[in-house]
Each structure stands twice: as structure tokens, then as C-alpha cells.
């Protein structure tokens, strides 16, 4: 396949960025999207230019490191995948592909397509856990948990922290990310004890970090590579109201 690429290049956090056009030829439809970028970078290196900097690591859709807008969609034109799982067979020969970093105040650009998502770590540090020290646990089967609840908790816990929900949201809200963690833990007896406190602290931190508000457009759910559901946001709201009222 032969393709035209428009890629956001930005030297540093403070530098001005711009789109730069590249042409790339002979790409196999079986290669992944990131492998296509590898081929581009090899060509750039050969001509003595700096390669396009983008974050990636596991390349199997689970570490959450990669993430760019491809033609305006977080992780590109396919459902339930990350950018590393996107394959070139989803494109046509001769296509123009526009590639940009996440755009959100809470995720400043570091260089080219790489952004700083440490705000997500700060959110988890704000009560996104069960306060239990090592060695402090009863037998694992001492508390039975309904299978349905455990499954729902697992659905929410599947979040990979890639930031696509924030990138998809016109308000750059982190509601889906926060609600996934709040739901995961609130659904389980082990996490229920601190649930109220967790909801209010994480929401306050979300505001402090510069994420926007939720206006229920559902864009986050549509673009989440792991299929995290909006019902988690309902659950977060419920936990939040309970904490505000009590």
C-alpha cells in the first residue's frame, strides 16, 4: 500500500507544533499501524532526520502506553482496539492518514505524539485502592462474592489507562477512567468499605488536575478500547451522591 501521512511534529512541550506531510510506499496490509510508523521512522533515520516520537511498549493492547488520534479517532478506525492492534488492512491504498497526539489540558504534549499522562497516576494515588497492607489478608475464599458482581468488577477493572476516553471527550473529562476504578472497587466487598470516600476524593482530584466535566455524550464509551461502559459513570455518580449526603 502507498499512503500519505500528516503527522503532528512538536519539538518540545513549549515549542510550537505543526503537521508535516510524509509519503510512504509498499506497506503490507498485514502490518500493524505502529509497524507502519516504524517503517516511516527507518526511512527518516536513513535520511538523517529525527524519527517521529510516539509512546508504545507491549504492542498487544494491554499496557495502555500507545494512543494517538488516527483520522480524528482515538486509536483509529476500528472498535475495541488500541493503536498497536490497528492493522493497515483497515486502510485503502492511496489514503491520507492524519496522526495527532491526545489533545487535553491534563495531558500536555512532551514531544511529537508523546503526551504526559501522569495525571492518571495521581488519580489512582487519590484512594484508587483498597487500604490493605501486605500480610493482612484472610483466606481468599472466606468472603464469597457473587459471580455476577465479580464479573462486573472485572469489566470495569479491564481499563488500561490509555487516555482514549479523555481524548474522545469534548470536555477532556476523565469520568470514564475514574468511574471504572470506583466501580471496580465498589462492586467488591473488599473495596466497598472505602467506597464513599474514594468517590469524593477521586472526583475532587479530577477537577484539580484540569480534567473537564462530564456532559454524558458517551464519546468515551464509544472509543474505549476495552469496552468500559457508561453504567460505570452512573455508579460513580451514585457513590458520589451518597458520599455528599452522608
Amino acid at each position: 500500500m502507498d499512503l500519505k501521512l500528516k503527522i503532528w511534529r512538536q519539538k518540545s512541550a513549549s515549542a510550537r507544533g505543526q503537521f508535516v506531510n510524509y509519503e510512504i510506499t509498499d506497506i503490507s496490509p498485514d502490518s500493524s499501524f505502529l509497524e507502519m510508523l516504524d517503517v516511516l521512522n527507518e526511512t527518516l533515520i536513513k535520511s538523517g532526520e529525527e524519527p517521529v516520537v510516539y509512546d508504545h511498549d507491549c504492542r498487544e493492547g494491554i499496557c495502555g502506553t500507545c494512543g494517538v488520534y488516527v483520522n480524528g479517532r482515538p486509536h483509529g478506525p476500528d472498535d475495541l482496539i488500541t493503536a498497536c492492534q490497528l492493522h493497515m488492512r483497515k486502510f485503502n491504498d492511496g489514503d491520507t492518514i492524519v496522526i495527532e497526539p491526545w489533545r487535553a489540558r491534563a495531558f500536555p504534549v512532551i514531544k511529537d505524539l508523546t503526551v504526559d499522562r501522569s495525571a492518571f497516576d495521581k488519580l489512582i494515588q487519590e484512594s484508587g485502592y483498597v487500604s490493605v497492607n501486605t500480610g493482612n489478608a484472610p483466606d481468599a475464599n472466606s468472603t464469597p462474592i457473587k459471580k455476577e458482581k465479580a464479573d462486573l468488577a472485572m469489566d470495569a477493572a479491564a481499563c488500561i489507562g490509555c487516555g482514549a476516553c479523555v481524548a474522545a471527550c469534548k470536555n477532556a473529562s476523565a469520568m470514564l477512567f475514574v468511574s471504572a476504578k470506583v466501580s471496580h472497587l465498589a462492586l467488591l466487598p473488599q473495596g466497598k468499605i472505602e467506597a464513599k470516600n474514594r468517590a469524593s476524593k477521586m472526583v475532587a482530584m479530577m477537577d484539580a488536575l484540569g480534567f473537564g466535566n462530564c456532559t454524558n455524550t458517551g464519546a468515551c464509551e464509544a472509543e474505549c478500547p476495552k469496552g468500559i461502559k457508561l453504567t460505570n459513570i452512573s455508579r460513580l455518580n451514585r457513590e458520589y451522591y451518597i458520599s455528599a449526603l452522608s
Binding site: I62, D121, G128, G161, L185, L188, G191
Partner: protein, 646 residues
């Protein structure tokens, strides 16, 4: 030459760990606050260690090269974690888990360490459940188990096909809690480039900040390496792109012995290689072998027609299929250990019975399981794996068998450690995949998660105190001493040299060539001639690397090419050591298969008389041969036997 003292405690095997704990030195709470510990890597081992040490009161500095500690490659582990809970009432016990692990490792691991691992395995499950890890459950609300290779019981706990992710998030959350409390200082995007040794003790690290490109210094009373495995020396592997050996390698070059470097695991069920541009291989969990049946065509003509795309797998009738694992190993069938399954696949493909366009693939077929259990059950068990397969291969595994082939997956070898998980450098510890100790020559499925968390939650937090108890009078020290100056200068010199080459070829060009040498000669089948050839080829390619490499950009900037170059520079040296170790070990055991040493049936032929030892290598200079010391392996609780999965 380093003298290897494994420090195995006295007493019968089932009492060793409790004997150790009752006699070891501890550090009192007031003193813990005065002691700093550096933890490098935030995977299962690193994150669990950092969290546990911080909870106990130590001050921890944690480092990872990723943008967040949650992204360490433990996250990609799919299938599960073993424990000797015996919840299914199928006859499991600590002894049986211990026995299976030693046998699975082909009797090349240290008995006392493995017993302790089995002993603490149950605590891990308890701990993870308490953290809110959403393990799979049965309708009665109790935890569910499944089977993995090399075991006759169901002892594997799992969270769909994302067990590693869920366990890592549990540890990451525990770590995040301690970060918020100020007990952990977290440094993401900082890659450890050197270890600082003062008066023969590990006292700090030199890192490169990936964003600014600047080097920085950190000091501590002890340094823990939890840096994972080195499978990326093969270029194509199931590792993350950034996984590397550099911190462990610098420790080796500073005097830490490296144990059994040639022991790497080749996982039988990965998506096959399909092109030159490929950057990594994707694993399909071993759990699939619970329900999937592995086969190739019985007749070579059929295999050829499949390779050419003339017929489809469904066109081959039942009697035309060779379920070769069930045929060769009726007792364990599709659930033989990984090394056995990988070699059997290679044997069929080499003999011309392979499938796929390259002939380097075998089928993993779910037809029978779907008929028996229904598509919904299979989807509930393996849905995310099937989806992952379909996205990559563009084929629907509910309708047509998966195609799989072995790939590099895990390093059993690593830094040599004693019973306390301390390397031959005092104050330098290695945990998880980064050390060599528990898996011998082959790791059983679902045991990596167990070992990482055992080391981090339940072993190191005890054993490191035995060392730190003697350090309570050592005040926090500054990083401006001459040893820090020297270590930082060394790192800067390497970075400068790499940037100054300004040759013509990219890092990946070299890395791919190195990977090819390694895969062909130090991979699934090894022999003397090829290993000797590989050593020379690696040396030659390493010289070319240092004279013709090109890195664009500036050193003091976010420069991924420079990052890759520092890692690949170390892989060259490691690759040579792996070949030397494989050459030295004139026997076949576990993942190490020397073609000269096999039974008539093609099974690995061990030589316990001459090789029942850990080969611990010491660095003598880049262009000098390393020196090997033996740690004899004594088997007191288990009788040495030829492995038999028939």
C-alpha cells in the same frame, strides 16, 4: 572469583523458611524510617516489593522506564497464577506444587527456594483478593481454578485472560497508596544506566531521564533490581518493546554473577511470524491448551496443499489429522510443559508437516471444545484472546483453528542470587524474572506471576532486613562522592560514544541481525558448531555496531533511538554470554536443547553427573572470556529422575 554461598538454611525442607525467619535479623520501626531502598522496575516483583517495603516503614525510591509504573510488562501475562490452595479438592499440596515446579524446571533449580515459593503461594492469592483483584469465580461465589501445563491438578487462579494485568494493578494500587503517603518516591521515564558501588556495597544508581536526556544520581542503603527478563536479545519475542537487560547487565559488569544465562523459555503458543517488518510476537495464553487441541496434517501432501492455500483445515478429515502431543504424551496430552510442546511443534514443522504460508505453524483447534461446551462458554473463558487473535490474523478462531508457533517468552536465567535474593554484590538484590533462581531450565505456566509476587510481597521484605540490620548506623549519604562521579562519568561516556559514531545503520537494523543469529543458533535447538559460530558472528556484528551505528537527534532530549542503542549495546554482550553458557552445558535440559544430547525418541537427555549445577558467570572485560563458577545443586527432598510426561 566470586565465591558462591547460597545460604540455604538448616533443617528439613519444610522447615527451612520458618527456621530462617525465626533466626534472621530484623530492623525496628524507628530505624526503618532512616533506611532508603531503591527498587528498579515496577512489574509484579518491583511494585509488590516497593509497596510492601514502604508499608513496613522503609523509604523507597522506585524507577521505571515506562511513563507510568502500571505499564510494566507483567501486565501482559494472560493465563493465571498458581497456588497450592487445593480448593478443587484434587489432591494439591505445597509439596506437590514444589515437586511439579522442580520437575518442570528439569531439576536445574534450587530446591530450598522452590519449596519456599510453593509455601508462600497461598498467601499471594489471599493478599490479591484482599486488594480487590477480581479473580474468576464460580456461581457459589468461590474462586475458580483451571489447569496449566506440567500439572495434574487445577491450581491456577485467573482473571479472564488478563491475570497479569489485574495482579499488577493490585500491586500498582498498593504502591500508589504508599506514593501518596510519601513513603515511595516514584520516578517514571527514568532508566537505570549504572549501579554505584561504595566499599563493595551497592549504594545507588545512575539514571538517564528519558525526557530531558540528562543523567541523575540517587543513593540508598540497598538496591533491588526487579528489571524483568531479557528475551528481547532475540529481537522478536513476546516481551514489550522496551524490555531490556541493561540495569542487570551493568550490575554484572560491576561484579554480580549471572546465573544460567542460556536458559530462556520458548512459548509454544504464539501467533506465527508473518513478515520482515514485524516488530514483536504475540502470545496466545497457555490456558488455551485446556480446551484447544494441537494438530498438523498426518500426510505431508495435505500440509503442502494447506501451505499453498489450496485446501482449508476443515477439509482435512479427522483421520487425516495428527494430534501429535496427545499421540506422544498421552498422560499430559496438550498440557505438557512449554519446552516439550515447543520442541514437538518444531519437530513436526522441520519434518515438513507445518501449516500456514511459511510452513512454520501448527493448528490449535477449538472445534471439539465448542461442540462440547458451546460457543458462549468458550467465549466467556477466552473471549479477549480470541478477539486479540482475530485482530492480528484477520481470521475467526471460532470458525477456523488458530495457527501458532513457538516464540521467545521468558528468561529463567538471570542474576545469581542466594536464598536471601541477594546477588554476589552485598546490598544488591534481584527479584522476579531478573534473578535465576526458581524455574531451573524451564518455567511452568502461571508460575512467573507466582514468583514475582512471592519475591516482592513475602520473601524480599524479610530477607532484605537481614542485610539492612547491619546498616542502621549508616546515615543517609549524599550523591557527590567520588564513586558517584565515576559511575556517572562512565554512563556519560557510553552515551557520548554512541552518539559520536554517526555511521549509517539504525539501531533496529543491528538488533534484527543480532536476533537472527540468536534465534538460529541459541534458540530452540543448539549444537556445538553453531554456538561457536554464533559467538564469532556476535563479536563481529558488535564491532560493526560500534563503528557504523547512526543515532539522529541530540543526547539531551527525548531520543528513543539513543534509548534503544544503550539497550542493544548490552544485548550484544549478553547474547555472547548466552552462547558461551549454552556451549558449556553439554546436556539437554528444559528449554536448553543440545542436539548432540537427546534420547532415541528425541527427548532432552540430561546429564546429572556432570551438570547438576548452576553456571554462575563473572565478567572479566568485554573482550575477555568470562569465568564460570559452579553452584552444585543438591536434591534432598526430591529424587532426580528423567522427566516423563507420557
Amino acid at each position: 572469583m566470586a565465591k558462591l554461598d547460597s545460604k540455604i538454611p538448616e533443617g528439613p525442607i519444610e522447615n527451612k523458611w520458618s527456621n530462617y525467619k525465626s533466626k534472621q535479623n530484623l530492623v525496628n520501626p524507628a530505624n526503618k524510617r532512616k533506611l532508603d531502598i531503591i527498587v528498579v522496575g515496577t512489574g509484579l516483583a518491583g511494585a509488590s516489593a516497593a509497596a510492601s517495603l514502604a508499608e513496613m516503614g522503609f523509604k523507597v525510591k522506585a524507577f521505571c522506564y515506562q511513563d507510568s509504573p502500571r505499564r510494566a510488562h507483567s501486565i501482559a501475562a494472560q493465563g493465571g497464577i498458581n497456588a497450592a490452595k487445593n480448593y478443587p479438592n484434587d489432591g494439591d499440596s505445597v509439596y506437590r506444587l514444589f515437586y511439579d515446579t522442580v520437575k518442570g524446571g528439569d531439576y536445574r533449580s534450587r530446591e530450598a527456594n522452590v519449596y519456599r515459593l510453593a509455601e508462600v503461594s497461598n498467601n499471594i492469592i489471599d493478599q490479591c483478593v484482599a486488594q480487590g483483584v477480581p479473580f474468576a469465580r464460580e456461581y457459589g461465589g468461590m474462586l475458580d481454578n483451571r489447569s496449566f501445563g506440567g500439572a495434574l491438578v487445577s491450581r491456577t487462579f485467573y482473571a479472564r485472560g488478563q491475570t497479569g494485568q489485574q495482579l499488577l494493578l493490585g500491586a500498582y494500587q498498593a504502591q500508589s497508596r504508599q506514593t501518596k503517603l510519601g513513603n515511595i518516591e516514584m520516578y517514571p521515564r527514568e532508566e537505570v544506566m549504572n549501579v554505584v558501588i561504595i566499599d563493595e556495597k551497592a549504594r545507588g544508581v545512575i539514571v538517564r531521564d528519558a525526557i530531558t536526556g540528562k543523567t541523575k544520581r540517587y543513593s540508598a542503603h540497598a538496591v533491588v533490581l526487579a528489571t524483568g527478563g531479557y528475551g528481547n536479545v532475540f529481537f522478536l519475542s513476546t516481551m514489550a518493546m522496551g524490555s531490556n537487560v541493561s540495569a542487570a547487565w551493568q550490575a554484572y559488569k560491576k561484579g554480580a554473577s549471572f546465573g544460567n544465562p542460556s536458559f530462556v523459555q520458548i512459548h509454544p503458543t504464539c501467533i506465527p511470524v508473518h513478515g520482515e517488518f514485524q516488530s514483536k510476537l504475540t502470545l496466545m495464553s497457555e490456558s488455551l491448551r485446556n480446551d484447544g487441541r494441537i494438530w498438523v496434517p498426518l500426510h505431508k501432501e495435505d500440509a503442502i496443499r494447506i501451505q499453498k492455500g489450496e485446501i482449508k483445515p476443515a477439509d482435512i478429515a479427522e483421520e487425516g489429522r495428527d494430534y501429535y502431543l496427545e499421540r506422544r504424551y498421552p498422560a499430559f496430552g496438550n498440557l505438557v510443559p512449554r519446552d516439550v510442546a515447543s520442541r514437538a511443534a518444531k519437530e513436526r514443522c522441520d519434518a515438513g508437516f507445518g501449516v500456514g504460508t511459511t510452513g512454520l505453524a501448527v493448528f490449535l483447534d477449538f472445534k471439539d471444545a465448542i461442540e462440547r461446551l458451546g460457543k458462549d462458554t468458550i467465549e466467556a473463558k477466552y473471549g479477549n484472546l480470541f478477539q486479540m487473535y482475530e485482530k492480528i490474523s484477520d481470521e475467526n478462531p471460532y470458525q477456523t483453528p488458530m495457527m501458532i508457533y513457538p516464540a521467545i517468552h521468558y528468561a529463567m536465567g538471570g542474576l545469581w542470587v542466594d536464598y536471601e535474593l541477594q546477588t554476589t554484590i552485598p546490598g544488591l538484590f534481584a527479584i522476579g524474572e531478573a534473578n535465576f533462581s526458581d524455574h531451573g531450565a524451564n518455567r511452568l505456566g502461571a508460575s512467573a506471576l507466582m514468583q514475582g509476587l512471592a519475591d516482592g510481597y513475602f520473601v524480599l521484605p524479610y530477607t532484605i532486613q537481614n542485610y539492612l540490620a547491619d546498616e542502621i548506623n549508616t546515615p543517609r549519604f549524599p550523591t557527590d562522592g567520588e564513586e558517584f562521579d565515576k559511575a556517572e562519568a562512565e554512563t556519560k561516556e557510553i552515551l557520548g560514544k554512541l552518539m559520536a559514531i554517526q555511521g549509517k545503520r539504525s539501531v533496529d537494523t543491528f538488533h534484527k541481525l543480532l536476533g537472527k543469529i540468536m534465534w538460529e543458533n541459541v534458540g530452540m535447538a543448539r549444537n556445538k558448531e553453531n554456538l561457536e559460530k554464533a559467538i564469532l558472528e556476535i563479536q563481529k556484528l558488535r564491532k560493526e555496531f560500534w563503528s557504523d551505528l547512526f543515532i539522529p537527534g541530540k543526547p539531551e532530549d527525548l531520543n528513543p533511538e539513543l534509548q534503544k542503542a544503550t539497550r542493544v549495546a548490552d544485548f550484544f554482550e549478553l547474547g555472547e554470554l548466552m552462547a558461551r553458557d549454552a556451549l558449556n552445558r553439554e546436556e539437554s535440559c528444559g528449554g536448553h536443547f543440545r542436539e548432540e544430547f537427546q534420547t532415541k525418541e528425541g527427548e532432552a537427555l540430561r546429564n546429572d553427573k556432570d551438570f547438576a549445577y548452576v553456571a554462575a558467570w563473572d565478567f572479566k572485560g568485554v573482550d575477555k572470556a568470562p569465568v564460570m563458577t559452579k553452584e552444585a545443586l543438591k536434591f534432598e527432598a526430591i529424587e532426580l529422575k528423567q522427566r516423563n510426561y507420557k
